[in-house]
Structure formats: C-alpha cells, structure tokens
Symmetry: C2
Subunit: 543 residues, 2 copies
C-alpha cells in the first residue's frame, strides 16, 4: 500500500511536468522543460510513502484528503526556479555554516540567484527612507525635534503625501487602484519621462509588479487554448503565472548571437506556429531591459514590435521594471507607450500594459513591495473588470504606494536632499555598471564560457559550452547539465546561480543566470573563487 501511494504521487508529478513541457514548443527537449528529478532515494521514498499514507488516512469516500493527487494540477505544473531547488539547498548550507563554520570550503553563501540588491549590502536611498519613516509615524511632523533627524525636504514631502491621503490616514485601505493623488504624481512622472500624456486613472498600484502580471494573465487566459507569447529565455514569473492560470506559453526565441536580439520575424513565425496548434494568442510579453538576458532594445526594434502587436490584435505586456538600469552609453530606455505614441497610435489602437516596480532601479527596495501597471487601450467595460479584480484584494500596501510615487518623482535640483540623493543614485548605478563589466569580462575569459554584455537590468546570462563528459556526468546524476554545474559551483564556492533551464533556452544549449549585485569590493574575490572552480571543473571533464 505504501509503495502504491508513493508511486501514485510520483506519477501525478510526472504527468503534470509532461503537461508543462507540452505547452511549450514541440521541439524536444522543450526549452522550458525542467531538469529531470533525482531518482528518489530509498530513505526519501519511504518517508514520502509514510507521509502520503498518513495524509490519505484522513480521506473518506467522496472527500479526498489533500495530497499531490488531489490538489489543483495547475499548481503542480507551475515552476519558479529563481527560488527553486538550488536555493533551498543553499539555505540548508547556510544553516550548516552557522552551526559549523569550518565545515564547508567557504565562509558565506553568496545569493546571486535573485535581483535582491539590499540582501547583498546595497544601502537604501536616504531620502526615500526618511519620507517613509515620517509617513509611518505622522505624529513626528508636529514636533520640532524632528528637524534634527530628517532633511527639511523629506519633511515637506511627507506633508504633501499626507495631504493626498483622505483623512491623512496612512493606515486605511486606499482606493483599490491606489491613492488618487499618488497615481496622479506617478502619471506626471511618466509624462515627464515620455513626453506624452499619462493619467492617474490608468495607474493600478500593486504589491510589486508580480500581482499586476497575475491580474493581466487572469484577465486574458480562458483555457489552455489561449496563449501568451513570451521570450525564451524569460523571467519565470511569466511561465509560472501562465501555468497557474491554465494557459499556454507560446515561446519566441531571443537570438544569443546578436546580443539577445528580438526579431519580429521570429515573433511572426512563433505566432503562426501557435495558431497552427489551435492556440489563440492573446498577448506578447516583452521584457526590456531583458531579464535574464540584460539587452536593451533599440527604438527602431520597439517600433516594429508595436506594429506587430497592432496588426495582430495582441495586448502588449511590457515588463519595464529595469527602466533605470542601463549601463552602456549607446543605449537608452524608451517605454513602449512612448514608442507607440510617437508612431501616432492612441488609446484606441493598441491595448498596452507597462509594469514598473520599486524593487529594481537604483533603489532596489524589494521588501517594500511597491509597483504599478499603467494600462492604456482597454475599453471602459474591460477596465471595470480589472478594477473589480483589484478591489477583491482591497488595495496594495500604502508604504509601497508612497515609494512608487517617490521613485517616479525623486528630489529635484534645488531641493535640500538633491545633491546627496544624486550622489547615492549615481554611486549605485555606476558601481553596477562596473560590476557588470568586470563579471562579463571574467566569464568571457574562461574556457567554454561565452557571455553577452549586460546592457541593462541586473544579470548576466553566460552560456556554458560543456564538454560531453560533463553532460554525461549530469545525465548520470539525473539532472540537467546546467543544473549540475550550478550545484557543483554552489558546493565548491557558496555562489548561488540559477540554471538556464529555469528560464528556458534553445534546446541543447546551457546557461546560468548570475546577478551583478554583490558589493563591488567583493567582486575580485568572487571572480577568483569562480575561476578556480571552473578551471577544476573543466580539468575534471575536458573531453
């Protein structure tokens, strides 16, 4: 019986993973196929069977207990590698290090798996934190001692924000799109950035960008016959959200040879490919600057993408959360809304959603969970439906809302904090540019690694040209070659990266994503740890 229960559980997982793979393109192996699981160890299997039998024991006829067999298969299907198996393993190693500091060949875990700047030592921007601190405790604003602790423009800004909140109630639910005065301020920031009108009525403030992405997927996806065109490689929020909402991911491939180029011919080809399978493609996801790939799209390229969406009747879902993370002189960020408006397209021509977050940029305030989407080109009836879904969760957190308004309207020349603010901001951005360059050069200097430049965002996505012997070793271990490499890297150096299979890649190619976020003074040591590991790895497996 126990054996039977464990087998059923494994079959359920396997079936669901097959499902996940089949929703992406037909090539085999699929670009999004997860790495094969480790064969269950005898111990793990017995424990699992015992646990399953326990959980089954509460079942009665007609009312199944909660087990992998009886939960929503869309949940089983969803994968999110950025916090997946390797990260869990790293957390275990960290606990091990705390208990036995000498037990591993390194003295700290370096989390390069996730764009989480402050976890690696980046300091928050002082002015933003001053304003948040005052808005959290408005009673301070009436006290003279406050001026000894806070800059005068932060105090002034806190007053302005409180005046935008009905009843100055920072502890009240707001309008479900967010506080109107803050949305208007964000819209003014967008208009200043783009040179085209923006309206606070089109802004939906959200707890980070992720819930906004889920809302759009929930709106658009009716069944597995609805598809969303997503880049490969992609940020796995998209594949996870599509899986959770029961849709199909229609992949298009970025061209590694041309610096992760996004070609409209490829979009057309993959749209037709999806349509030939009976998929109705509803939307195109573009991540610019790219995650995990770091490219910054050229304006001419963006124009073609807009025309494509317009001609094909697709919603353009523009992930623009890295809009302030540009590291090369010859590239600039252009929002898709600006590009569409500069082509003469209005609200009537093209449904377009832009996602922004306080977690990225130079601020990197991931823990505040602030963000917004700007939606244009939807009919009033559909907007009402989006509002209704937002209202079920009441509103996003007010601190995150305030911070979103601050990043879209930071201190201006003449403000007391302006100079120190600019120093902090430029210090972070120029250091990120140097770190991106140093890591890219280091990767390109290694045997069997090629790495495109990070023009923007927070990541490098180097390609591993692995020897056949390494691929064989990975197969013998029951894991994908890039996952095998990432695990070996973690075990030898404490550096956590995410295997390319978590983002999707051209079948038969192998990559990993590594953030550029460790503090600058640590970069040389990281590079030498990495180099030492990689050379040993190649020595071990060179064909």
């Amino acid at each position: 019986m126990r054996r039977f229960v464990a087998d059923r559980a494994r079959r359920a997982v396997a079936a669901s993973l097959r499902g996940a793979a089949s929703s992406s393109r037909s090539a085999s192996p699929s670009p999004l196929a997860p790495a094969p699981r480790h064969p269950a160890s005898p111990v793990g299997e017995a424990a699992m069977a015992a646990s399953m039998a326990r959980s089954m024991s509460t079942a009665v006829a007609g009312s199944p207990a909660v087990s992998l067999d009886t939960i929503n298969p869309k949940v089983l299907k969803c994968e999110y590698a950025v916090r997946g198996e390797i990260v869990t393993h790293a957390q275990n190693l960290q606990q091990e290090l705390q208990k036995h500091p000498e037990s591993l060949p390194f003295d700290e875990i370096l989390y390069c798996n996730i764009g989480n700047p402050q976890s690696l030592g980046q300091q928050p921007v002082t002015y933003f934190r001053e304003v948040l601190s005052l808005c959290d405790h408005p009673a301070l604003l009436d006290k003279s001692e406050t001026h000894a602790l806070y800059s005068s423009d932060a105090i002034e800004r806190a007053w302005q924000i409180l005046d935008k909140i009905p009843g100055r109630a920072t502890g009240a639910y707001s309008h479900s799109q967010g506080i109107k005065g803050l949305r208007d301020e964000i819209a003014a920031g967008i208009a200043a950035r783009d040179g085209f009108h923006a309206s606070g009525d089109n802004i939906f403030l959200t707890d980070g960008a992720s819930p906004a992405v889920h809302m759009m997927m929930q709106l658009l996806i009716r069944s597995e016959k609805d598809g969303i065109l997503c880049p490969i490689p992609q940020y796995p929020l998209y594949s996870a959200s599509i899986a959770l909402h029961g849709g199909s991911l229609a992949p298009y491939f970025l061209d590694e040879e041309t610096g992760w180029g996004l070609e409209v011919d490829e979009l057309k080809k993959q749209l037709e490919e999806a349509q030939s399978k009976g998929i109705t493609v509803r939307a195109l996801v573009v991540i610019n600057p790219g995650n995990p790939t770091g490219q910054v799209l050229a304006e001419e390229n963006q124009k073609k993408i807009v025309e494509f969406c317009k001609n094909e009747g697709l919603v353009l879902l523009a992930d623009e959360v890295y809009q302030e993370n540009i590291y090369v002189e010859d590239k600039q960020f252009h929002s898709f809304k600006k590009v569409a408006r500069s082509l003469g397209y209005t609200d009537d021509d093209l449904p377009l959603v832009s996602f922004q977050s306080v977690s990225k940029g130079y601020y990197g305030e991931c823990g505040k969970r602030g963000g917004y989407m700007e939606i244009t080109g939807f009919s009033p009836e559909v907007r009402e439906q989006i509002y209704k879904v937002a209202s079920v969760n009441l509103c996003s957190n007010i601190s995150g809302q305030i911070l979103a308004s601050l990043v879209m309207n930071p201190p201006k020349a003449g403000d007391e904090s302006f100079e120190s603010f600019m120093e902090e901001r430029d210090g972070i951005l120029s250091s990120l540019a140097r770190r991106a360059k140093a890591l890219e050069e280091a990767f390109n200097g290694l045997e069997g690694i090629t790495c495109n430049k990070a023009e923007g965002a927070m990541y490098l996505f180097p390609r591993l040209h692995l020897p056949q012997k390494a691929i064989g070793a990975a197969q013998a271990a029951g894991t994908a070659p890039d996952a095998y490499y990432a695990k070996r890297l973690l075990a030898a150096t404490g550096i956590v990266v995410v295997p390319g299979s978590g983002f999707g890649q051209v079948p038969g190619t192998w990559h990993f994503r590594c953030t550029i976020l460790p503090q600058e003074d640590k970069i040389p040591a990281i590079i030498s740890r990495f180099k030492e590991f990689h050379e040993k790895f190649m020595d071990e497996y060179r064909d």
Copy 2:
C-alpha cells in the same frame, strides 16, 4: 451592428451571472444572486456599443481584441459588493460635494460599507507606528536625538527586529514565507494565546489575509466540481475567490433566529446536497467572529465543527481575523487550532488553516497589508507546493510582516509603553463595544428592522422587513429591495452600507451590513439621520 455588440456583451455578463447563481443552492432566487441590473439607459447603451465597436475594431482574424466577450469568464463571474456599485456611486457623490458643497442634503459621505477604521478617524497605535518608523529608517537608531522622539522600548524593539532580518536589510525580499525570526515570534504569540505548541515553519506571512485565502482556493480547486462550504451570509472575498478559481460555492445557512447560529446539522445537509450534485467538497470556511454577522462561536459548537471536518475529510479554513474584536462579557475567542488540539487531534488528523490580519482587531491597520496564515495538518509534499506558489510572488511586504509580529507580541507589563499602549487599546475596544450597542439598539427601535447583537467583529447585519409596496418600487426600478433601500439611504443621508444580497441571505429576506466604525461622537447624529430617513421611507411605502 452597434446594437448587436452591446447585446452580446450583456448576454456574456448575464450568462456568467447565471453560472454564478447555479453554483449555489438550488432554491430560487439563489442566496447569492446579485441584484438585477438596471435596464441600460439609451445613452449608456449607445456609449457602451460605441466603445465595444471601438475595441472590436482592433481585432483581426484569430486574435480577438480584449472585450467582455473574450476575457476570462471567471473574472466576469466574480462579484465583490463591498466595493461595488453603491460605493462607486458614493465616490461620485463625494466629488460632487467637493465641487458644490451645498448641492446635497448632507455635508459628508460616511463610509460604513467596509471595515476600514482609520478611514473614519481611528488613530493608529503609537507604539506600533514608532517601531515601523524606526525600521523604515534604521539610520535613526544610531543617533542620540532619536531618544527625544521615540519611546525607549520601541527603539529596543526595532533593534530586536533588525537583528532578526538577515543583514538588517529591511529593503530586501525575505524568505517567501516571511522573515523566520518574525514567524517564530508570531508562533510564540499563538502558543501563548492557545496553550498549544505553534511553529514558525507553519506560518506564511501575506499582504493582508486576502492573498492567503486565494492561495488556499488555488491549491484546492481543480474545477467547478470542487466545492467549498461557505456560510451564508458570508464575506464576499470567499465567493469572489471561488469564482476566480473556477470552483463551486456550497452554501450553508447561518440561523438568524438563534443569533446567526452555525448548526452542524445544516453543514451535513448542505454537504450532502452538494455531493448529490456531483460536487466534491474540499473545505469548510468558518468566519469567527462572524462577518457580516458578528456572532462569536461557543467552544462546544466549535468542537462539533472540528469533528465534522475530521469525519468528512474537509480542510477547515478558519477566518479568525476578528479574534481581538469581542464586545460581550459572556463570549471569548477560541482559535480552531486550540479547539482541535484540546480534542486531542494532532497535525496528522486534520488539515487546518487559520487566517489573521493586521487590518482588524484594535489596531485596524488596513493600509499596511499585513497578515498570515498558520497551516497545520498538510503533508510535506503539499506544503512544498504551497511554498512554491508563495515563492512566485517572492514575499509579502516587510512593514506588514513586522506589524504582524507586533500585534501577536505587543508591549508587556513593565515596558515603558505598556500603560499608554493599554490605554489606547482598551479605549478603542470599549468604544467599539459601545458603538455596536448604540447602533444595534437604534436599529431595533425602528419599525420593520430587527438586528442581532454584534458580539464581535466590526459589523451589524440588520434585517429589513420591507413593506410590499417598497419591494414593488424596487422591482420597478430593476433592483433588489435591499439595494434599493441602501441607495435611497445614501441619497438621503450620505451613509454608505452594503445590501445583504452582496453577502448572500435566505431567499426572500433582506438585510444590509453597516460597520460600527464611525467615531463615537458622531454616532448620535448618524442615528438621528438614519432614523429620519427610515421613518420617511416607511411612511412612503407602508402597506
């Protein structure tokens, strides 16, 4: 053509609403059936048709534009009356009042539609806000001037919290369940409350309780053949979440005659009723203290509910967000986990989820979006799936996490802030009790209204015994009688309440939900405005 498009849109909505109604009990009219829509005005219809035609114009063969016809029908089906039509109308009136202060028969809108204490003037708890303010700007902790502005125990607590956050990085994503040290603190608070062990590993911190409810619905609901037993009347988050996840709401009725009693016989009857329709019932939702009904369950009653879930193999989803809002001497809050453990049931016997929020209680910090769920009785494999879904959204906001730890571990006797904290806390709770009593007595003193006591939570749910003539007038206006009453009330007094049809009610009965949250000094004027309106209404319609 325009007419055709508008008709299609209406048919789509009507079909989806029929679907919603058919998922609840077969009695007609359904307890959850929304009020009939207003017949579209000629102007509204033309505008809608024009807009629809516009939105259709972007469509090309095979790629439908985004319209009510082509979005996810589950989104159309979802209803959330707490922020529905009447509230939108109230917001419009408020704008009208700002422009033309003398244009309406009242000078302010009183939002009694939602449990949002600080929007109606409740002040935040000082100690909690001091700690949040310090954690938002940790640089303050090193400055001597800070002691002039903050209490010493708040400073001490901020240090303790920072020490629980890896790298003291309040701007970093945390563990996807929330910061471990804060979860441990919450678990200690739960253990102190219940007298039974609790573990931080079982806590998932969330942005308010709503995302936690969605996560469980997402986990449990596979299709419309999966049902969730929900009270009628219910808080419409549950019906909305079940609709969004494509499941069926299996209603059980609270007994108004016995103070909204929850009888296990009724649960059994409705479970069988659902099963007879081929529904697999996965879980039972219990809201204690009740929303919108305000009753506090007796421990003996809770024991029977636990036994019922255990015997039927149901997950017990316990909405316990009003656990600190009890206003009567003879009732106490008992968590379902405490009741289950006191019956001898362990983690192996019963899957149980308890939801808690920082939005309610005496703190009422709705805008902070803090909350958690404590999950027990799930197998490690299923917990892993819950963790995976949580990880897709990375983490909840850190201020909300901190606040959740504070409300579960407030100042203790001996702390510098203890006395002022207790004064604020008891002042709020005793005032709420007085307000609940004053409003209940006022409602019961009116012709054609009966109202159960609010033993807890933040609401009264009076029953309207409306004259036939009023029901006829509502029908002529194309709206449900309680919605008609609520609209007339708003137009005459500026008081916003939610019609009972938004929560579900025994067919043929009519109610409204009214919060007890206006500040105490306003209650007499509210009562007299309400009384005047109601007497005129009855004079107009008395049979």
